[in-house]
C-alpha cells in the first residue's frame, strides 16, 4: 500500500477513537429537538427565559387519573402514586396533600401585611369603618381564612391572599387529593418530579419503565379509569424512541440493499467489504469531526446520517463499475469472457481521452481511478456546493447535518482514493449478463439522448411538472419541524381543558433596571390583563408581582394605612376592642417590613413559581409573566402594546416566522446555486454540454415539487433544502455518466446503483414520523427518480 493509504488509516484510527471516547461519555447525543433550533428572539434574555420556563415545566411528569366513579378515581390515583413511588424513578411523587398546611402562606405574609394592597377599598371615616366592621362580623362566614379581627381587622390581607395564583381555581381538595370535576367524571391530579433533565436518556428510560409498569397495573386494577399524562419527558421519550426506530430502520434497509447490490452485481465479498469500509470511514470521520465542531450530535443528524450511508457508497460504486467493465475487456487471466461477446459498443460519442486508449485490455487499479478522477471530483465538488447551502442556513441543526454529510462524503472520497485501489489489484469476476444489459441500456440512452424530439418533449414535461408544482401549498408552521404523537397531544389537550393550564410557551418578558422597576412594570401589565380574566379570555396569570407587590406600591399602601390608623383605632374602640389589642396592632403597623423578592424566594411555597423570577441579567432585572387561558399570541401582544420593558415571547410563532424567512432565503439561494453549478459545468464542459448536464437535476427538482404537491405534503424549508441535495446528487449522476461514457458502460452501472440506493434509503425518509425528515424524504425520492430517468440527457451532444 502506498504511504498515503497508511496515513489515512492512521487518521481514521485517531478520529475513530476520539468519536468512540466522546460517545462513550454518554453526553454526545442531544435528544432535545428544540435545541436544534437557532435563537429566534432578538433579546438574549428572552432565549434564557424560554429555556428556564421549559425547564421549570419540564422537570416533572403530570398525571390525571379519572373516571365516572369518584371513589374509583381516587383509589386509582393513590395506586398510581404508590406504584410510581415504589419504582424509585422519581425523587418525589405528590399524590396526596397530607402534609400541606394552609396556614403557611398567611403566616409568611403576616409581618408584611400592612404594605399588601387589598382587593377592595375600605371607608375612611370612623363611622363608616365601624359599620364596615360590624357588617364583616355579622356575616355568616364563620371562620376567617385570614388572621382574624385582632391582626387584620378589615380583612385586607385576606383579600390579598385570595388573589394569589396559588392554585388553579378549578382544583379542589377531597380526601387529601387534588381533584378536578370533568364532564365525564372526577379527575385526580398526581405529579412526579424527575430525577434529572427530561432530556437525559437515563432519566427517560427509568421514567418510561416506571410509568409503563404503573399503567399496566392501573389497567388491570381499574380498567374503567383513564390515565392522562403530560410533561416534557414524555415528549422527549416519544421523539427519541421514534428517531431511534427510524434510524435503525433506515440504516438497516440501506445496509441490506448495500449487501444485496454488492453481492448480486459484483459477486464478491471483497467489493462488499471495500464498500462497507468506505461507508464506515465516512461515518467515523463525520461523527468525529462533527463532535469537534459541535458539543453534541442531534438525533436528526444521526437519522440523516443513516442516509449518508447511501450517498457515501456512490463513489465506490462508480469505481467498482469500472472495475467490472474493464476487467471484462480481456485483462490478464483468469479470462472467462468470450471475446466475441457484443460488449464492445461503438463509440457513439467519444471524448478525446488518453486514458481510454491506454486502458487497453488490462485492469490496472490506479490507472482506472485516474481515468474516472475527473467526473468523481466534479461530482464531489457540486455535491459539496449543495451541502454548503445547508451550512449557510442559520440553523444549528441543519449546519450540523450539512457538516456531518460533507465530512462523511469527504471521508468516503479519500478512502476511495487512498485505500480502495490497493485491494482491487485482481480483475473482477466477469458478469457478462449484467454488462450486456447495462450496455444495452447505455446504447438506448445514447440514441434517446440524440433524438430530435428531446427539446420539445423536455419543454412539455417541464411545463406539466411546473403546473403541478404550482399546486403545492406552502406551510411554514413549527409543526412542520416537530410533531409529537397524536396520543400525547390528545392527552395534553384534555389536561389543558380540565385544568385550565395552558402553557403553549407564550409568556411576557418584563425587564427593568432593578427589582423595583421590574415589579412595577409587571403590575402595569397585570392591570391590563386583569379585564381579560373577568371576560374569560384568560383563566389566570402567574406573576411574581402577585406575590410580591412592587416596593412603590407597598410603600404607598403602608402610608395610606398609617394615615388611616387613627380612624380605624377609634372605630375599633367603639366596637369594643381591648386597648392592649389596639396597642399590638399599632406596634405591628409601626414595625411592618417591606417584602422583597428575596424574602419570597426563601419561602418554600414559592417553589413552583420561582422560575418566574429571572433576577439579575446582563441588562438589568427580568421576570416572566405567564398568562393561562385561551387567548392567543396576537391578542396578548396587542394588550401589552406600548408598555415599557414588556415583550411577548411566543417561541412557536417565532420559529414559524423564522422557518418562513429561511425558506424564502433558501429558495433564492437555490436559484443562485443553480446558476453557480451551471457556470462551473459550463467552465468544465462548455456551455451547451453544461446545460444538458444540469437539465436532469432540473427535471428532478420540478418532479420533486410536483410530487410533493401530489401527495399533499406541505412545502417548507426542509423541502427546499432537499432540493439542494437533488441538485448536488443529480449533477453527480450526469457528470459520472458523461465522464464514463466510453465503450464500457461503467458510468451507467455506477449511476444506476447509486440512484437505486439513494432512492431506497432517502425515499424511506418519506415514511418518517418526524415532519422535517418526511419532507426531505418526499423531495429526495421524487427528485432522484426524476433526475435518474432523464440523466441520459447528459449524453446529448447536439443543442
Amino acid at each position: 500500500m502506498r504511504l498515503r493509504g497508511w496515513i489515512w488509516i492512521l487518521v481514521l484510527a485517531l478520529l475513530g477513537s476520539f468519536a468512540a471516547l466522546r460517545m462513550r461519555s454518554g453526553h454526545a447525543i442531544e435528544t432535545d429537538l428544540l435545541a436544534m433550533l437557532p435563537a429566534t428572539e432578538r433579546n438574549p434574555v428572552a432565549e434564557d427565559a424560554v429555556r428556564s420556563l421549559a425547564q421549570a415545566s419540564g422537570n416533572r411528569a403530570i398525571f390525571l387519573v379519572g373516571g365516572a366513579e369518584p371513589e374509583r378515581s381516587k383509589a386509582a390515583a393513590l395506586t398510581l402514586a404508590k406504584d410510581l413511588e415504589a419504582s424509585q424513578a422519581f425523587p418525589q411523587v405528590q399524590g396526596t396533600l397530607k402534609d400541606v398546611d394552609p396556614g403557611v402562606v398567611p403566616r409568611f405574609y403576616t409581618p408584611y401585611r400592612f404594605g399588601l394592597p387589598p382587593q377592595e377599598a375600605t371607608p375612611d371615616d370612623p363611622e363608616a369603618l365601624l359599620e364596615h366592621l360590624q357588617a364583616r362580623l355579622a356575616s355568616p362566614q364563620t371562620a376567617s381564612f385570614g388572621l382574624g379581627l385582632a391582626q387584620d381587622p378589615l380583612g385586607q390581607m385576606e383579600g390579598f391572599l385570595a388573589q394569589l395564583p396559588l392554585n388553579s381555581s378549578r382544583m379542589q381538595i377531597q380526601d387529601d387529593l387534588l381533584v378536578l370535576q370533568g364532564k365525564d367524571g372526577l379527575y385526580v391530579l398526581c405529579t412526579a418530579a424527575l430525577s434529572g433533565s427530561a432530556f437525559d436518556p437515563k432519566v427517560q428510560e427509568s421514567t418510561r419503565l416506571a410509568v409503563e409498569k404503573a399503567e399496566k397495573h392501573l389497567a388491570q386494577a381499574f380498567p374503567e379509569v383513564k390515565l392522562l399524562r403530560t410533561g416534557a419527558v414524555f415528549y422527549a421519550i416519544d421523539a427519541r424512541t421514534r428517531a431511534e426506530r427510524e434510524m435503525h430502520l433506515i440504516s438497516g434497509i440501506s445496509l441490506v440493499c448495500i449487501f444485496l447490490l454488492h453481492l448480486l452485481v459484483f459477486r464478491s465479498l471483497r467489493h462488499l467489504l471495500l464498500g462497507l469500509a468506505s461507508i464506515g470511514a465516512g461515518l467515523v470521520t463525520a461523527a468525529a469531526v462533527s463532535l469537534i465542531f459541535f458539543d453534541k450530535l442531534y438525533l436528526l443528524t444521526l437519522v440523516c446520517g443513516a442516509s449518508v450511508l447511501g450517498d457515501a457508497v456512490d463513489y465506490s460504486f462508480l469505481y467498482f463499475a469500472n472495475h467490472l467493465a474493464y476487467s471484462g475487456e480481456g485483462g490478464p487471466p483468469p479470462r472467462q469472457v468470450r471475446s466475441s461477446s457484443p460488449l464492445a459498443l461503438p463509440h457513439a460519442v467519444s471524448e478525446p481521452s488518453p486514458d481510454t486508449a491506454s486502458a487497453g485490455n488490462t485492469w490496472e487499479p490506479w490507472a482506472a481511478l485516474r481515468r474516472i478522477r475527473k467526473p468523481l471530483v466534479h461530482g464531489f465538488l457540486t455535491t459539496m456546493l449543495g451541502y454548503l447551502a445547508l451550512m449557510l442556513a442559520p440553523f444549528p441543526g441543519l449546519r450540523q447535518i450539512a457538516l456531518f454529510s460533507m465530512v462523511g462524503l469527504l471521508g468516503a472520497f479519500i478512502t476511495l482514493f487512498c485505500i480502495l485501489p490497493n485491494f482491487l489489484a485482481e480483475p473482477a469476476h466477469p458478469r457478462p449478463h449484467i454488462l450486456k444489459g447495462i450496455r444495452g441500456l447505455m446504447a438506448r440512452a445514447q440514441s434517446l439522448a440524440q433524438s430530435r424530439r428531446v427539446p420539445l418533449t423536455l419543454a412539455a414535461l417541464a411545463l406539466v411538472l411546473g403546473g403541478l408544482a404550482l399546486r403545492g401549498r406552502i406551510h411554514d408552521d413549527v409543526q412542520g419541524f416537530i410533531r409529537p404523537s397524536a396520543r400525547l397531544l390528545a392527552e395534553e389537550t384534555r389536561i389543558r381543558e380540565l385544568t385550565g393550564f395552558s402553557n403553549q410557551g407564550i409568556f411576557y418578558l418584563v425587564e427593568g433596571t432593578d427589582e423595583a422597576e421590574t415589579l412595577a412594570r409587571e403590575e402595569a401589565l397585570v392591570a391590563r390583563l386583569q379585564p381579560m380574566i373577568s371576560q374569560g379570555e384568560l383563566d389566570s396569570l402567574q406573576a411574581v408581582s402577585s406575590f410580591v407587590p412592587s416596593p412603590q406600591r407597598q410603600r404607598s399602601e403602608l402610608e395610606a394605612r398609617r394615615r388611616r390608623a387613627p380612624a380605624l383605632e377609634s372605630a375599633l374602640k367603639q366596637l369594643g376592642m381591648r386597648p392592649e389589642a389596639i396597642q399590638t396592632l399599632r406596634q405591628d403597623l409601626a414595625k411592618n417590613r417591606l417584602l422583597t423578592v428575596e424574602d419570597w424566594l426563601q419561602a418554600p411555597f414559592s417553589t413552583p413559581f420561582r422560575h418566574l423570577w429571572m433576577g439579575k441579567t446582563n441588562q438589568g432585572t427580568a421576570a416572566l409573566v405567564v398568562p393561562m387561558g385561551t387567548a392567543e399570541g396576537p391578542r396578548l401582544r396587542e394588550v401589552a402594546q406600548g408598555l415599557p420593558g414588556v415583550v411577548l415571547v411566543d417561541k412557536a410563532a417565532s420559529v414559524s416566522t423564522m422557518l418562513a424567512k429561511d425558506r424564502r432565503m433558501a429558495t433564492w439561494s437555490l436559484g443562485g446555486a443553480l446558476f453557480l453549478v451551471w457556470g462551473l459545468l459550463a467552465l468544465w464542459y462548455g456551455p451547451r454540454a453544461g446545460f444538458w448536464l444540469i437539465a436532469p437535476p432540473l427535471v428532478g427538482i420540478l418532479l420533486a415539487l410536483a410530487g410533493t404537491a401530489l401527495v399533499g405534503a406541505p412545502l417548507n424549508l426542509f423541502s427546499v433544502l432537499g432540493l439542494f441535495l437533488v441538485l448536488g446528487w443529480g449533477v453527480d449522476y450526469t457528470v459520472f455518466l458523461r465522464g464514463c461514457q466510453g465503450r464500457d458502460g461503467a458510468g451507467v452501472l455506477g449511476v444506476t446503483l447509486a440512484a437505486f440506493l439513494t432512492l431506497v434509503s432517502y425515499g424511506l425518509l418519506a415514511f418518517s414520523h418526524t415532519p422535517a425528515l418526511k419532507g426531505f424524504g418526499i423531495v429526495l425520492g421524487w427528485g432522484v427518480l426524476g433526475t435518474y430517468l432523464t440523466s441520459f440527457l447528459s449524453l446529448r451532444s447536439r443543442p
Partner: protein, 196 residues
C-alpha cells in the same frame, strides 16, 4: 373497653349515621327561621350579637338576613353570592369569579341541609342521638386545622344550634328559633335567590 370497640367500629359509619339522623332535614323543601349569632372574640371586651332571619330553600339556596345591629343580606346560591350592604349597595360574586366563596356556599348549604358527607373533605364527623334530638361534632382535618378548631351542630326536627371554635380562642354560636315550615317564599325572597 366494649364502648371503645363500639366507637372504633362506628367511626367509618359516622357520616352515614349523621346523614341518617338528619335525613328529615333534607325532606324539608323550604324553611324560614330566626337566628341569633353571638361572637366571643378575644380581642373584644364584649360579645357581638347579630339577629335576623334565615331562609333555606333546598333547591335554590340560602338567604341570611341580618336585621340588628344593622341591615345586611347575604344570599348564597349554587350560581354565586350576593351581598347587600347597610347602604343598599349590592355586590355579586359568581362561582367562577370567586371559587373560595363558592366553596363557603357549598359548605353552608350542606350544613343547613344536613348533607354531612360533603364536609368530610375538611372534617371528621362524630354523630350521636336520635332523629328527634341529635348532635354532630366536626373535627377539622389538617387542611382546615389552621382555620377552625371544632364545630358542633345540634338539632331535632330542625337545625337548632351551631357552635364554632377557632384556633385563636375566638368562638361563636348561632341559635335558630321559631322555625316556620309552611311559610311560602315571598316575591322579594325569590328575587334575591335569583341574585337580583
Amino acid at each position: 373497653m366494649r364502648r371503645l370497640a363500639l366507637v372504633v367500629l362506628a367511626a367509618p359509619l359516622a357520616a352515614q349515621t349523621a346523614d341518617a339522623l338528619t335525613a328529615h332535614l333534607r325532606n324539608t323543601p323550604l324553611l324560614h327561621a330566626d337566628f341569633t349569632q353571638t361572637r366571643h372574640l378575644k380581642a373584644l371586651t364584649r360579645p357581638l350579637v347579630a339577629r335576623g332571619t334565615v331562609v333555606v330553600d333546598r333547591q335554590r339556596g340560602i338567604i341570611w338576613q341580618v336585621l340588628r345591629p344593622l341591615n345586611l343580606t347575604y344570599v348564597v346560591t349554587p350560581q354565586g353570592v350576593l351581598e347587600v350592604g347597610p347602604d343598599g349597595r349590592r355586590k355579586t360574586q359568581t362561582t367562577k369569579d370567586a371559587p373560595m366563596v363558592a366553596q363557603m356556599g357549598r359548605i353552608m348549604q350542606a350544613l343547613a341541609e344536613g348533607r354531612w358527607s360533603v364536609l368530610e373533605d375538611y372534617f371528621t364527623l362524630k354523630a350521636q342521638g336520635t332523629p328527634g334530638r341529635w348532635e354532630i361534632r366536626l373535627s377539622p382535618k389538617p387542611v382546615a386545622a389552621s382555620f377552625i378548631k371544632s364545630v358542633v351542630v345540634k338539632g331535632g326536627r330542625v337545625l337548632e344550634r351551631f357552635q364554632i371554635e377557632e384556633p385563636g380562642g375566638d368562638h361563636s354560636e348561632v341559635v335558630f328559633g321559631a322555625p316556620r315550615l309552611d311559610q311560602p317564599l315571598s316575591e322579594a325572597e325569590a328575587r334575591l335567590l335569583n341574585l337580583k
